[in-house]
């Protein structure tokens, strides 16, 4: 099966044609460089994204604490991740980079705070 992708490895934005079978890449064309082939392989075989959102804070100086996954997670699980984040509430001050949920969704990635949030003055 042929899949069409736009390469995002650089601003060139090559239009890739990926010949794929059963989730495995057979051949990539349209790429101007090797990065394109690697991108196509990743995107077809295991597409991942960094998920960012916000966690509701309770009793902190801000209403929301921005959060992110420490690594990209499978694209197919983004909405599941969002739903899980919506369930969370944070009542303690955090520093940017601090882990909020270890092994988020049972994955290797952690959910971490993206901003330092104190108690209200």
């Amino acid at each position: 099966m042929i899949k069409h992708l736009t390469c995002i490895a650089c601003p060139n934005g090559c239009q890739l044609e990926v010949d794929e079978a059963g989730g495995h890449v057979i051949k990539v064309t349209g790429n101007k460089c090797e990065k394109g082939a690697a991108y196509a392989r990743q995107e077809v075989e295991d597409p991942t994204r960094i998920l960012t959102s916000t966690v509701l804070a309770k009793g902190l100086e801000l209403k929301l604490v921005p959060v992110r996954t420490s690594q990209p997670i499978p694209k197919a699980r983004l909405f599941e991740g969002i739903a899980a984040i919506r369930e969370l509430k944070l009542g303690r001050p955090v520093k940017a980079g601090e882990i909020i949920v270890k092994n988020f969704l049972g994955l290797a990635a952690d959910l971490i705070a993206a901003r330092t949030v104190h108690l209200p003055e």
Partner: protein
Amino acid sequence: MYDVLIVGGGVTGTAIARELSRYRLKLALLEKEVELAFGVSKSNSGIIHPGTQNPPGSLKGKLCVEGNRLTKKLAKELGVDYKEVGELIVIFSEDDRPRLLKIKADAEKLGVTGLRIVGRDWLLEHEPNINPEVLAALFAPTAGIISPYRWVYDQAENAAGNGVEILTSHKVIGIGKEAGRFDVSVAGGKVFSARFVVNCAGLCADEIAGMAGITGITIKPRKGEEFILDKKREYISNHLLFPLPAPTSKGVLVIKTSDGNPMIGPTAEEVADKEDLSTSDDGLKQVLESVKKLIPAVNENDIIAYFAGLRPVAGDDFIIRHEDKVPGLINVAGIQSPGLTAAPAIALLVAGLLKKNGLGLRKKFFFHRFRAKTVHLFSLLVTRISPLIRKDPAYGDIVCRCELVSAKEVREAVRRGARTLDGIKFRTRAQAGRCHGGFCTTRIMKIMAEELNLPMTAITKRGKGSELIKEERT
């Protein structure tokens, strides 16, 4: 039982309320919208006309000239900024000179003072941006500018201070008459009884008259689109600039406003729908084309806002009369331009009609004629701001950066009756600047939610149905 019920909370209704509030009367004003001035008045240009636009013999002409004088006095009493900037009706061809002279002669008949014809040299000196092809102009020094909404709010506030009940979100849906008494029903079930009803319901004046049994009035909305320029262009003109008037309207003007932003427009277009407030690509094109004849330097990119308003047209002249067929009913209809100017004169006329038809007007012992001026940082010199902040720190907490509005002013506006974001804008100018609320909307909403004890999802732009937020995370 009320002595008088005033239906309609625009400039006419509030002027009448304020005028009647000096007498020992039980008064209420009923407004269908969530705030005052949300109908015809909110899209007014803010011009206090000198009396050069309407012929002698018309009610409009007479009340305009009288209203011009009264406004000046009343604005002082009520602490509203009124600037007498003067107007110029300009011509570009000798062929137009006879019509210009006729306007001058007519206006003089009406009692307009200070009129004179000025020539090209005078114009080029006093209006450096005017089209150099200009030939002459009629200069009317008594033309002024005022903020139409603040004018309404401040009159209403003074009327309320003098005992008038100002009731918003009170839409009149029926008027019954029996035994010398009106029973006025409002949506939601309440009924107000009164000896007299004054109908100044703007676009709905025909419907209100109909409810009371008067069928001869028809209000035809005439739409006008106006475009507001950046405050940086405040001095693109030094006077109000008018072309020679056309039969249906004054034409497209360059308007100075009391907020500083110049305004260009309006268009004039008959529409069927009393709620049609849409603007159009054509309207913009038409306004730009016309206005560039007056001031070629007007630039489309200076437009920061636009809106459409509807003029409540009921024939050529105002209709202001006691209905002998329905004793006790006074109709004040068709109050389009120069309605803002004429309002205080209309109020006096209506008081006279009420008296003539049996309402006793006895003056109150205590009438609060004066009202303390509302503080607007934008109208103060920087040096005057410092003592204010020392008195109340919240004056130093700036919410709207384009127009310089503090948290204190926003809070104060809510306490004075603002219930919507538009109401805050009209009162304080927050969100009215070049960023259009991009920076201050959230802060204003928070202050409103706090003051009114409402969830953010209940904050509206201009009343029910115009909520800004669909869902709040809690």
